[in-house]
C-alpha cells in the first residue's frame, strides 16, 4: 500500500546502539541499521528535513513488523500448499491479504525520486552452537523413509539394564514379607501413637513403647464381631445367591416399616400396598411367618381418633 510505504520521512541521526560483541547481535544490528537508512531516505523523499530520533525508531519498528509479517504470512501460504520455498504468488497473496494493492507496486518501484540504498554489509549468519553428540546416531531402519528426521542422540534412548536375578528363594521371600509387614505395622502404629493420645507402661518414658490410648466405642459389639470389609467380601463370594434373594424379600417388610416411621397418614395406603407386595413375594417363597406379615392399619374408632 502506498500510504504505508510513503510514510512521512525525514533524515535523522541514528543513535548508535550499544556495541555488542555478540556476532548474532551484530548481524541484527546491521540489518536494523539498513532499515533505519531506508526509513530515513523515505522520509527525505517525502520532504522531511529532519526527524526526531524517537519517530525514526518507531517508524523503523513499524517497517520491521510489516516486513516480518509479510515473511511470516508468505511462509504460511507456502507451507499451506506443501512447499518449503515461497513463490511470488505467495507474496502476492500475502500482500493482498494484508490489504495492499499489488498493482501499485510496479509504479511505486519505478518512481523517479527513489533513492538507492546500498546493500547491507555482509555479516555472517550467526552459527548455532552444535549440540553435544554422543555416539553415532542410529541410521533409519529400512521401513522408515529417509526424509524423516534422524534419530536423536543415542543417549536419549539407549538403556543399560542393571537388574539382579529375581529372588525365588522361599525363605527370603517369607523373611521379606514378614519384615515388610512388621515395618509397615510398626510405622503405622507409631504414627498413630504420635498423632493421638497414648498410654505408657513406663512413667519415665512415654515414647519407647507408646500404646494408642484405649477409646471406648459407642457400640462396642460392632467392631468386635463384624469381620473387616475384606473378610466380608470373601464371605459373600461363598454365599449362595439364593440366600441373598431370600433375605431381600424377607427384609422388605421390615424396611418398609422402618421407613414409614415418620410417614404421614396419606402415605399409609401406599405403604400398605408396598407391604402387601412384600408379602406376596413372601408367599412365592412359601414363607408364612408372622414377622413378615404386613402391619395392619388401626381400626377406625371415632372416640380414639378424636382424643
Amino acid at each position: 500500500m502506498a500510504d504505508t510505504a510513503a510514510g512521512p520521512g525525514g533524515s535523522g541521526t541514528r543513535s548508535g546502539s550499544k556495541q555488542s560483541t555478540n556476532p548474532a547481535d551484530n548481524y541484527h544490528l546491521a540489518r536494523r541499521r539498513t532499515l533505519q537508512v531506508v526509513v530515513s531516505s523515505l522520509l527525505t523523499e517525502a520532504g522531511f528535513e529532519s526527524a526526531e530520533k524517537a519517530s525514526v525508531e518507531t517508524l523503523t519498528e513499524m517497517l520491521q513488523s510489516y516486513i516480518s509479517e509479510i515473511g511470516r504470512s508468505a511462509k504460511s501460504y507456502c507451507e499451506h500448499t506443501a512447499r518449503t520455498q515461497p513463490t511470488l504468488s505467495d507474496i502476492v497473496v500475502t500482500l493482498v491479504e494484508m490489504g495492499f494493492n499489488v498493482d501499485t507496486l510496479p509504479a511505486y518501484a519505478k518512481r523517479s525520486q527513489r533513492m538507492v540504498i546500498t546493500a547491507p554489509p555482509v555479516t555472517n549468519q550467526p552459527v548455532t552452537p552444535k549440540a553435544l553428540t554422543a555416539g553415532q546416531n542410529r541410521p533409519h531402519p529400512p521401513h522408515i523413509p529417509s526424509h524423516f528426521p534422524e534419530f536423536p542422540d543415542p543417549h536419549t534412548y539407549i538403556k543399560t539394564p542393571t537388574y539382579r536375578e529375581p529372588v525365588s528363594d522361599y525363605q527370603v521371600l517369607r523373611e521379606k514379607a514378614a519384615s515388610q509387614r512388621r515395618d509397615v505395622e510398626r510405622a503405622l502404629t507409631r504414627f498413630m501413637a504420635k498423632t493421638g493420645e497414648t498410654q505408657s507402661l513406663f512413667k519415665d518414658d512415654v515414647s519407647t513403647f507408646p500404646l494408642i490410648a484405649a477409646r471406648p466405642f459407642t457400640i462396642p459389639y460392632l467392631t468386635a464381631l463384624l469381620p473387616s470389609e475384606l473378610e466380608i467380601q470373601q464371605m459373600e463370594e461363598t454365599d449362595s445367591s439364593e440366600q441373598d434373594e431370600q433375605t431381600d424379600t424377607e427384609n422388605l417388610a421390615l424396611h418398609i416399616s422402618t421407613e414409614d416411621s415418620g410417614a404421614e397418614k396419606e402415605n399409609a395406603s401406599v405403604l400398605q400396598q408396598n407391604s402387601l407386595s412384600g408379602s406376596r413375594n413372601g408367599e412365592e417363597s412359601v414363607i408364612d411367618n408372622p414377622y413378615l406379615r404386613p402391619v395392619k392399619k388401626p381400626k377406625i374408632r371415632r372416640k380414639k381418633s378424636l382424643s
Binding site: 464381631l225 416411621s261 411367618n289
Partner: protein
C-alpha cells in the same frame, strides 16, 4: 416300684401322687400384660396387667402377688378399686442401724425375707385387698379380674435397657431393651405370680416405635399401627399354660431372619449383624431335629424365636418359645473357636425349651429334675454332634468340676427337703447361704448344681438304660402336651409341672427298676466319693489284690456302698470286674486271666476289640497287668486317686482308647518325669488319630516333665522339633508354614504347643532363649493371607505364650523399674505386645481376643516386676464402652493389682463399679473375680480390712443389690470370703447394753427360751448347733402366735424375728448375765431394739396388726414398742380392711411421730390410704403416670 422306696421324697409333699397343691388360695388362669409405652430416653415403661383368677377358698379377702420395682398406680378387681399394700422386705434385709455385721445373721435374715415374699409359699410383695362388695362373689368362687396399672422407671434389674449414646433416633442407635434375671425374676418388670408352678395362658401386647420389633412369647397374632402411624402394637398369644417366670420380652430395631429350614423359627439380631446371624443360626434346625427325634415329640410351641442382644445378663436365657442370647455369640464363617461354643449355647437353649419352659417345676426342690434332664439331653446332642470323645471328655470335665467344688465347699444338694422349716433340718449348714430359695444361692453353687443335676441324670441312665430314660422323658412330655391343650377347668395343667416324685415314679413305671438307692445317694444327699486305690499282684495265686479306701470324713464327701466297676487290662485282654464296695471291706481279690508270658509274641486285645502290638519290655516280668482303671464309666460321682507304676500309666496312655483314661494317665504321668514318660507323651502328641484334647493336655504335661528333668534333658527343648516337623516348612525349619486351619485338630494343636513350650524352664528357672526366639519367630512369620479362617485366636495364643515365658525379674535392691534396666528379652516381648495392641486399634480382631491377651500379658509383666505395677492402663480398658471381653480382662487385672499391691483406692474403684456400672454381667463378674482372687481373706491380716469396708460391703448386700438376686448373692460370697461367717475381726467390739433389751423382749415373748439362749450364747459363732437351738424355741413361739389367730405366713416372720434375735445373742461379747436387766431400761429403746421389731412389719403386716390390737389391752411395755414400730403403715390398712377403729388411729399418729424421732427408715412402707376415709369417694385422679410419684404408690425406684 414299691411305694416304700418313695417315702423320703414324699416328705415335703403334702399330697403324694396327686402331685401339685397350690400354696395360694386361688388359681390363676389367664394374664394380660400390656405395655403401652416404652421410653428409651428415660428408660421407663408404662403398662397394665390383668390377671384372671379363680378363688379356691370361700373367704379369700387378700390376694398376694409378686412385684418389685414397679410403681403401682391403681388396682381394680372386677372394676372396683381395691386397696393394696406394697411391702418388700428384700429391699433392705437388715435394717440399718445394726452394728451386727455377721454373715450368719444376714443369711438368715435374707432367707427369711425371701421366704416372706416367696410365691411358692403363697406370699408376695403386693397384697391386694378384695373389696368387700365382692366378698359374696368370692364366696361363690367366681372369677376375679385384677387389673393393675403400673410403671417402671429406670429399672435396675429385670429389664435391661441398652441405649448407645450416639446421634439419631433410638432405632438408628440400636437401642434395645430385654428382660433378664436369675430364676424367677419376672416380678421385676410386671406384677405377676412369679412362680414356676403357677401356669396360665397369656396375652401380651407391646406398643413400640414403628421402627422397632417387640419379640415375646407365643404366637404373634398381629401387628397393628397406632392411629398416628408412628407406633405399632405387637399382639402375642400364648395358649400353652406358662409360668410368669418364663415370660420374656425383647424390643429393639432388630433385623429379622426367618429360618430357611423352619419357617416357624425366627431369628433376631441387632442392626448390621444380619450376615453373622445367618451363619450362626444356620445350624439350629439340626438341633431341633435331634431333640424331636430322641424325645419322639414335636417341639411343644408353635414357633420359636431367638434374639441376640447386647449386654446380656447371661449368654443363654430360655423362656417359653423364645431364647435370649448374647450378641457376642454371633460369628462369621471364618471363626473356628467360637463356632462350637455358640452351637452348644443354641443346643442348651433348645433343650431348656422342652424341660424348663414347656415343662415347669412344682417347687424349687424339683429344679434338679429340669436342669438334669435338659442338661442330659444336651449331653446326648453333644455326643451326636461332636462325637463320643468330646462327650466323654466333657463328662469328665464336669465331674472334675463338681468334685472339686463339693470338696471345697462341702457339698451340693440336688433335692433339699425342708421339713417344716426347722433350722435343724437345714441340709446346707456348711454353706454361708440358704439353699432353700434359688434367690439366696451363690451363683457358683447354682452352676455346680446344674452340673451335678445332669451328671446324676447320666447315672440314672447308666442304671436304667438310655431307652427307658428317653421313654420317661417322652412320657412327661406327652402328659404335659395333653394337659396343655386342655381347658383350665379340667385341672390338668399341673401335669405340666414336674416333681421329683413324679419323675421317679415315672422311672419306676417305665423301667421297673428300683433306683431309690441311687437317688438317695446323689439326690437326697450332698457330697461326692473319694476313692484311694492301690494294688499288689500276688503271683502265686495269680490274683490282683486291690485295696480301695474311701475318705468320707472330709467335708463334701460321702460314703459309697454299692457296686464299683474295675477294668483290668491284662496281656490276654481287658476284663471288667464289678466289686461290691461295702462297709468294711477294703481289699478285693481279682483273679487274673493271663499268666505273665512276655516271650510269646502275640498281639494284645484291647477293650474295644482292637488287637495291638506292644513293646512289653517296660513292664514287670512277673505280672500280666498292663493297667487298671477304677470306675471307668464314671458311674459314681467320685474322685479316684489310684496308684500304679509309671509304666502302667504309660501303657494306659498309649493303648487305652478311652479319652478319659488317656487324660487321667497324662495327669498321673506328671509325677513320673522319666524319659519313658517323655516318649509316651511325644508319641501321643504325634499320633493323628488321638483325640486333640488329649494331645493338647499332653503338651502341658510334657512341659512339666521337661522342667522336672531339666538337668538330664537332652536334645532341643520339648516339642520344638515336633512343632517344626508338623507346622514348619520343610526347607527352612525356622519358618512356620503359612496358616491353613482346614484341619481343626492340628489347628488346636498348633495353637497350644507354643503356649505349653513357653512354660519350659532351664536350670536357672528361666525360659530358654531358644524357646523365646522360636515363639517370636512364629509371630514374625505368621502369615494368614491364604487362610480361609481368621487367625485371631491363634495370634492371641501366641501372646499368651509370650506371657507364659516371662519369669520374675531379677531385682537388685528393689530398684525402680524403668526402661533402662529392662531385660532385653522382655523388651522384645514388650515390642510385640505393643505392636499387637496398637494394631488392634486399627484392625480389631474378632471379640478382641488379641487385646484381651495383651492386657493379660501386660499384667504378667507387671507382676513379675519387669514393668512398673500400675493399674491405670487397665482401668481405662475397663471403662464402659469397651467390648465386654476386654473389660473383664482389664478388670481381672485390676482385681489382681488390688490384691498384690493391697491398694485401697483400687478396691474402692472396683466397689464403686459394682454399684454403678450399667452392665449387670460386668458387675456380677467383678464380684465374682474379687471372690476368686480376694484382696485378703478372713484368715489374713490386711490393711484393707477396716470398718468402712465392712460397712460398705454390708450396705451393698443389704440394700445396694436388691434389684438383682445374682448380684446380691455375689456380694454375700465376697463378704464371706473376706470376713467369714462371724463378725469381721476389724470391727470394734459392740456396745453391750443394747443386747439386754433384746433379751428382755425375748423373755417377754417367750420366757422359756432364756436358758437356751444363754446357752447358745456360749457357743462359737459359726457352730451350726446354734441353729438347732434356734429351731428348738421357734416352735413354741409360733404356736403362741397361733393362739393369737395369726395365719400361716407368720411362720416365716417369726423365723426371721427369732433368727434375728438369736444372732444378736450370738455376739461373742454379749455377757450372759445381762439378761436380768430390769425392763425399765427399755424406755431408751436403743436402735438395735427397735431394729429387732423392724423385721416384723417388714415381713408381716397382718401379724403386727394383731399385736397392735392386743397392745391396747395388755399394757405390755414391750408389746407397745412393737406396736410403735409396726402400726404406722398398717393401722390404716387395718382400718380399711375391717371397721374403723378410732383408738387405733390415735395410736397410729402417736407412733408415727415416735417413729420419725427415731429416724427409722421405712422407705418402702406404704403410707397410702392414710386418710383414705376422706378420699375414698374421690376418683383416682392422681394416678396418672405423668404426675410422677403417686402419693399412694411406693417409691421404690430410689
Amino acid at each position: 416300684m414299691p411305694p416304700t422306696g418313695i417315702e423320703p421324697s414324699r416328705m415335703n409333699r403334702k399330697k403324694g401322687d396327686k402331685g401339685f397343691e397350690s400354696p395360694r388360695p386361688y388359681k390363676l388362669t389367664h394374664q394380660v400384660v400390656c405395655i403401652n409405652n416404652i421410653n428409651f430416653q428415660r428408660k421407663s415403661v408404662v403398662g397394665f396387667v390383668e390377671l384372671t383368677i379363680f378363688p379356691t377358698v370361700a373367704n379369700l379377702n387378700r390376694i398376694k402377688l409378686n412385684s418389685k420395682q414397679c410403681r403401682i398406680y391403681r388396682v381394680r378387681i372386677n372394676d372396683l378399686e381395691a386397696a393394696f399394700i406394697y411391702n418388700d422386705p428384700t429391699l433392705e434385709v437388715c435394717h440399718s442401724e445394726s452394728k451386727q455385721r455377721n454373715l450368719n445373721y444376714f443369711s438368715n435374715a435374707y432367707a427369711a425375707a425371701v421366704s416372706a415374699v416367696d410365691p411358692d409359699a403363697g406370699n408376695g410383695e403386693l397384697c391386694i385387698k378384695v373389696p368387700s362388695e365382692l366378698w359374696k362373689h368370692v364366696d361363690e368362687l367366681k372369677v376375679l379380674k385384677i387389673h393393675i396399672n403400673f410403671s417402671l422407671d429406670q429399672p435396675k434389674g429385670g429389664l435391661h435397657f441398652v441405649v448407645p449414646s450416639v446421634e439419631g433416633s433410638m432405632a438408628e442407635r440400636g437401642a434395645h431393651v430385654f428382660s433378664c434375671g436369675y430364676q424367677n425374676s419376672t416380678r421385676f418388670w410386671f406384677p405377676c405370680v412369679d412362680s414356676y408352678s403357677e401356669l396360665c395362658t397369656w396375652k401380651l401386647e407391646f406398643t413400640v416405635d414403628a421402627a422397632m420389633v417387640a419379640v415375646s412369647n407365643g404366637d404373634l397374632v398381629e401387628t397393628v399401627y397406632t392411629h398416628d402411624m408412628r407406633k405399632k402394637t405387637f399382639h402375642y398369644m400364648l395358649t400353652i399354660p406358662t409360668a410368669a417366670s418364663n415370660i420374656s420380652l425383647a424390643i429393639g430395631p432388630f433385623e429379622v431372619l426367618v429360618d430357611p429350614y423352619m419357617h416357624e423359627v425366627t431369628h433376631f439380631c441387632l442392626p448390621q449383624l444380619l450376615p453373622l446371624l445367618k451363619h450362626t443360626t444356620s445350624y439350629l434346625h439340626e438341633v431341633f431335629e435331634f431333640y424331636e427325634e430322641i424325645l419322639t415329640c414335636r417341639y411343644p410351641y408353635s414357633c420359636f424365636k431367638t434374639v441376640f442382644i447386647d449386654e446380656a445378663y447371661v449368654e443363654v436365657a430360655a423362656y417359653a418359645s423364645m431364647s435370649i442370647f448374647s450378641t457376642n455369640l454371633l460369628h462369621s464363617a471364618m471363626i473356628i473357636d467360637e463356632t462350637p461354643l455358640t452351637r452348644r449355647c443354641l443346643a442348651q437353649a433348645l433343650a431348656q425349651q422342652f424341660f424348663g419352659c414347656f415343662i415347669s417345676r412344682m417347687s424349687w426342690s424339683d429344679e434338679w429334675v429340669l436342669k438334669g434332664i435338659s442338661g442330659y439331653i444336651y449331653g446326648l446332642w453333644m455326643k451326636k454332634t461332636f462325637g463320643v470323645n468330646e462327650y466323654r471328655h466333657w463328662i469328665k470335665e464336669e465331674l472334675d468340676k463338681i468334685v472339686a467344688y463339693e470338696l471345697k465347699t462341702g457339698g451340693v444338694l440336688l433335692h433339699p427337703i425342708f421339713g417344716g422349716g426347722k433350722e435343724k433340718d437345714n441340709p446346707a449348714s456348711h454353706l454361708h447361704f440358704s439353699i432353700k430359695h434359688p434367690h439366696t444361692l451363690s451363683w457358683e453353687y447354682y452352676t455346680m448344681f446344674q452340673c451335678k443335676a445332669h451328671l446324676v441324670m447320666r447315672l440314672i441312665e447308666n442304671r436304667i438304660s438310655m431307652e427307658f430314660m428317653l421313654q420317661v422323658f417322652n412320657k412327661l412330655l406327652s402328659l404335659a402336651s395333653t394337659a396343655s391343650s386342655q381347658k383350665f377347668q379340667s385341672h390338668m395343667w399341673s401335669q405340666m409341672l414336674v416333681s421329683t416324685y413324679g419323675f421317679l415314679k415315672s422311672i419306676s413305671n417305665v423301667s421297673g427298676k428300683d433306683i431309690q438307692p441311687l437317688i438317695k445317694q446323689w439326690v437326697d444327699q450332698s457330697g461326692v466319693v473319694k476313692f484311694y486305690g492301690s494294688f499288689a499282684f500276688n503271683r502265686k495265686r495269680n490274683v490282683l489284690e486291690l485295696e480301695i479306701k474311701q475318705d468320707y470324713t472330709s467335708p463334701g464327701t460321702q460314703k459309697y456302698v454299692g457296686p464299683l466297676k474295675v477294668t483290668v487290662q491284662e496281656l490276654d485282654g481287658s476284663f471288667n470286674h464289678t466289686l461290691q464296695i461295702e462297709e468294711n471291706s477294703l481289699k478285693h481279690d481279682i483273679p487274673c486271666h493271663s499268666k505273665s508270658r512276655r516271650n510269646k509274641k502275640k498281639k494284645i486285645p484291647l477293650m474295644n476289640g482292637e488287637e495291638v502290638d506292644m513293646d512289653l519290655s517296660a513292664m514287670d516280668a512277673d505280672s500280666p497287668l498292663l493297667w487298671i482303671r477304677i470306675d471307668p464309666d464314671m458311674s459314681v460321682l467320685r474322685k479316684v486317686e489310684f496308684e500304679q507304676a509309671d509304666f502302667m500309666w504309660q501303657y494306659e496312655l498309649r493303648y487305652e482308647r478311652d479319652v478319659v483314661a488317656q487324660q487321667e494317665s497324662i495327669l498321673a504321668l506328671e509325677k513320673f518325669p522319666t524319659p519313658a514318660s517323655r516318649l509316651a507323651l511325644t508319641d501321643i502328641l504325634e499320633q493323628e488319630q488321638c483325640f486333640y484334647r488329649v494331645r493338647m493336655s499332653a503338651c502341658f504335661c510334657l512341659a512339666k516333665i521337661a522342667n522336672s528333668m531339666v538337668s538330664t534333658w537332652t536334645g532341643p527343648p520339648a516339642m520344638k522339633s515336633l512343632f517344626t516337623r508338623m507346622f514348619c516348612c520343610k526347607t527352612c525349619p525356622n519358618i512356620v508354614r503359612t496358616n491353613n486351619f482346614m484341619s481343626f485338630q492340628s489347628y488346636f494343636l498348633q495353637k497350644t504347643m507354643p503356649v505349653a513350650m513357653a512354660l519350659l524352664r532351664d536350670v536357672h528357672n528361666l525360659c530358654p532363649k531358644e524357646v523365646l526366639t522360636f515363639i517370636l519367630d512364629l509371630i514374625k512369620y505368621n502369615d494368614n493371607r491364604k487362610n480361609k479362617f481368621s487367625d485371631n485366636y491363634y495370634r492371641a495364643e501366641m501372646i499368651d505364650a509370650l506371657a507364659n515365658s516371662v519369669t520374675p525379674a531379677v531385682s537388685v535392691n528393689n530398684e525402680v523399674r524403668t526402661l533402662d534396666n529392662l531385660n532385653p528379652d522382655v523388651r522384645l516381648i514388650l515390642e510385640e505386645i505393643t505392636r499387637f495392641l496398637n494394631m488392634e486399634k486399627l484392625l480389631p480382631s474378632y471379640r478382641h481376643t488379641i487385646t484381651v491377651s495383651c492386657l493379660r500379658a501386660i499384667r504378667v509383666l507387671q507382676k513379675n516386676g519387669h514393668v512398673p505395677s500400675d493399674s491405670s492402663l487397665f482401668k481405662s480398658y475397663a471403662e464402659y464402652g469397651h467390648f465386654v471381653d476386654i473389660r473383664i480382662a482389664a478388670l481381672e487385672a485390676v482385681v489382681d493389682y488390688t490384691k498384690v499391691d493391697r491398694s485401697y483406692e483400687e478396691l474402692q474403684w472396683l466397689l464403686n463399679m459394682i454399684q454403678t456400672d450399667p452392665v449387670p454381667y460386668v458387675r456380677h463378674k467383678i464380684l465374682n473375680m474379687l471372690t476368686k482372687n480376694p484382696p485378703f481373706t478372713k484368715t489374713m491380716e490386711s490393711p484393707l480390712c477396716n470398718e468402712a469396708l465392712v460397712d460398705q460391703l454390708w450396705k451393698l448386700m443389704n440394700s445396694g443389690t436388691a434389684h438383682d438376686w445374682r448380684l446380691r448373692c455375689g456380694a454375700v460370697d465376697l463378704y464371706f470370703t473376706l470376713f467369714g461367717l462371724s463378725r469381721p475381726s476389724c470391727l470394734p467390739l459392740p456396745e453391750l447394753g443394747l443386747v439386754l433389751n433384746l433379751k428382755e423382749k425375748k423373755a417377754v415373748l417367750n420366757p422359756t427360751i432364756i436358758p437356751e439362749a444363754g446357752a447358745s450364747n456360749q457357743e462359737s459363732l459359726s457352730n451350726p448347733g446354734c441353729h438347732a437351738q434356734l429351731a428348738g424355741f421357734q416352735n413354741p413361739f409360733s404356736s403362741s402366735q397361733d393362739e393369737e389367730e395369726v395365719d400361716m405366713d407368720t411362720v416365716h416372720d417369726s423365723q426371721a424375728f427369732i433368727s434375728h434375735h438369736l444372732n444378736m445373742l450370738e455376739r461373742p461379747s454379749t455377757p450372759g448375765l445381762s439378761k436380768y436387766r430390769p425392763s425399765s431400761s427399755r424406755s431408751s429403746l436403743m436402735p438395735q431394739h427397735s431394729l429387732g421389731c423392724d423385721i416384723i412389719p417388714a415381713t408381716k403386716p397382718q401379724w403386727s396388726m394383731e399385736l397392735s390390737r392386743k397392745g391396747t389391752g395388755k399394757e405390755q411395755p414391750l408389746e407397745m414398742s412393737v406396736h410403735s414400730m409396726v402400726a404406722a403403715p398398717l393401722s390404716v390398712f387395718a382400718k380399711e380392711s375391717t371397721s374403723s377403729r378410732h383408738s387405733e388411729h390415735h395410736h397410729h399418729h402417736h407412733h408415727e411421730h415416735k417413729k420419725k424421732k427415731k429416724k427409722h427408715k421405712h422407705k418402702h412402707k406404704h403410707k397410702h390410704k392414710h386418710d383414705s376415709k376422706d378420699k375414698d369417694k374421690e376418683p383416682f385422679a392422681f394416678s396418672s403416670p405423668a404426675s410422677g410419684r403417686s402419693v399412694r404408690s411406693p417409691s421404690l425406684s430410689d
